[in-house]
């Protein structure tokens, strides 16, 4: 691939940005831990024994998927800041493919999300969530796929945005409902039909579910927690990634050049 160098350069730029921004590093690492510790802990204490599975582990896997998905999506959407700062022009006047720019951006934001994945797993071990090395390893591999889906989702959202202000408003609208439709903190094994439909079109659902499938593989509570077969999750994630990436990039480039 002749454009591997540019893709890596774009990805490295995002990682450097994170490493040089200490306040951002602290907040990105602390927030998921608060969600798991406070929300997961309190729900486990109050509801855990009635559900038949450990709610802390349930929240941990949910927040793991949600954090990686959201961080990557949010990072890709930050290209709107580049556009407003004129830095994106530097990338868009270069002779490389527009897809390479987007792929580099998704890869870079995945690298940004990676320290969060490590921190969340470390926190899970500290609070007593136990799993085999293979299960944690599986979670990390799935984490990479979640990042890719989040990044592609981000480019689709970005292609429909015109300003940073609009990005903030739209992001809450497209992200917050998915927290509940994907079952990050709330079991969604049984849902009323209208919510079930909405849940099935929420990309985050498949990201979180694939993570849980990896973590709960071989465990008795798997049937109570995991929604779909990993094959279904993988197929949907692959399909959504392809469609989001192609449509999002095409729309984004068109909106950039055809103002």
């Amino acid at each position: 691939m002749t454009e591997l160098g540019p893709v890596l350069a774009i990805a490295q730029r995002d990682l450097m940005k994170l490493l040089r921004d200490r306040p951002r590093m602290v907040t990105t690492l602390v927030f998921p831990l608060l969600l798991i510790g406070v929300l997961g802990g309190s729900l486990q204490a109050n509801l855990g024994r009635h559900l038949g599975f450990d709610f802390l582990a349930f929240t941990f896997t949910g927040v793991f998927g949600q954090t990686l998905f959201q961080t990557t999506a949010q990072g890709v959407i930050s290209m709107i800041t580049d556009r407003e700062n004129d830095f994106s022009q530097e990338m868009f006047v270069s002779p490389i493919s527009r897809y390479s720019i987007i792929v580099g951006k998704i890869l870079g934001e995945s690298l940004v999300a990676l320290p969060q994945a490590v921190a969340i797993i470390a926190f899970a071990l500290i609070v007593g969530i136990r799993a085999s090395a293979a299960q944690f390893g599986g979670l990390v591999v799935v984490g990479l796929l979640i990042c890719l889906l989040g990044g592609a989702f981000g480019i689709l959202v970005l292609s429909n945005l015109s300003s940073q202000e609009m990005a903030g408003q739209i992001f809450t609208f497209v992200m917050l409902p998915q927290f509940f439709l994907a079952g990050i903190f709330n079991p969604i094994k049984v849902l009323p039909p209208y919510l079930d439909i909405l849940s099935r079109i929420a990309p985050m659902r498949y990201a979180v579910d694939l993570g849980r499938a990896a973590f709960y593989a071989g465990r008795p509570e798997s049937a109570r927690v995991v929604l779909d077969s990993p094959v279904v999750d993988l197929a949907v994630i692959g399909g959504m990634f392809t469609v989001f990436l192609i449509v999002g990039t095409a729309l984004f480039v068109r909106s950039e050049r055809n103002r």
Binding site: G5, F87, V93
Partner: protein, 324 residues
Amino acid sequence: MGELTERIAPVAPGAAIIEVEDLVKRYRKGKTNAVDGISFSVRSGEFFALLGPNGAGKTTTISILTTTLIPTSGRVRIGGNDVVTQASSVRRQVGIIFQNPSLDMNLTGEENVRFHAVLYGLYPYRPQFRLMPTAYRQQVRELAALLSIEADIFRPIKVLSGGTRRKLEIIRSLMHRPAVLFLDEPTRGLDTNGRRNLWEYLRGVQAAGTTVFLTTHYLEEAEAADSVCIINRGRIVSFGPPSRIKAELVSEHVLIDADDRDRLRAELVTRGVAFAETPLFKIKLDGRSAHQLLKAIDTPLSVVAIHQPSLEDAYLSIIGKIDD
């Protein structure tokens, strides 16, 4: 000059490298055309200046020429390549210095330059300067020395002055040895010294064969151009070498005065010399020599001044007439 300007021009010197034919751009939410049917060409190796007031269509034109904006209609070719259908080939041939700084503030100067070099496929990707090929390290050091920013190039952009940032953008834009260098108001925000240094350097770049395409508000910067195109409200109002624009639009005149103003006024009337009192007596030369005119006046003069028109006079004359 340094190594950066020693490039092979893809177009023979003197041949048209930029060809713009009936270019129109109307923004999606626009009620009028931002660029309204302009045509011009720029020869290889030329220093070309696009002038116009705010909102004239300069940045729109430069955005289309650099492939970041699609025209509504018309045709633009750079080095024979169409900016819409052969955008990638065009991008390889052009370097751009944007109106607003386009450096990444989170990176150092060298990291910004390296990012560009890798994006253009000039060097393989390496995560650190010391791991980059020797040729790259040498080129960066030479360029930094050329612009006297050796000490600053490894510092974060956010701590550098506006002038140093502009120099870094120039280094970056010339890394891939473009055939055409576009500069959209490059000296905006620079102090006098910074502007002078920049122009000295850019003259060298042009002398080495790079076509320089400039938009500017500073008219004295365009005085040195080979061709000037003045646009207003999306249309070309004057085009040609600065000398021709000046000659066509602003006449040379002399300003004279005398202690005995009544006598001077009467003499000019008697001799049939047209004048205006501003309050000095302003006489258009209209091809006559100043010497010839002054020799014919008998009234003792107390003031004699010959006014050579500047491009600014021509520009103000054009824009003033249109706005009236």
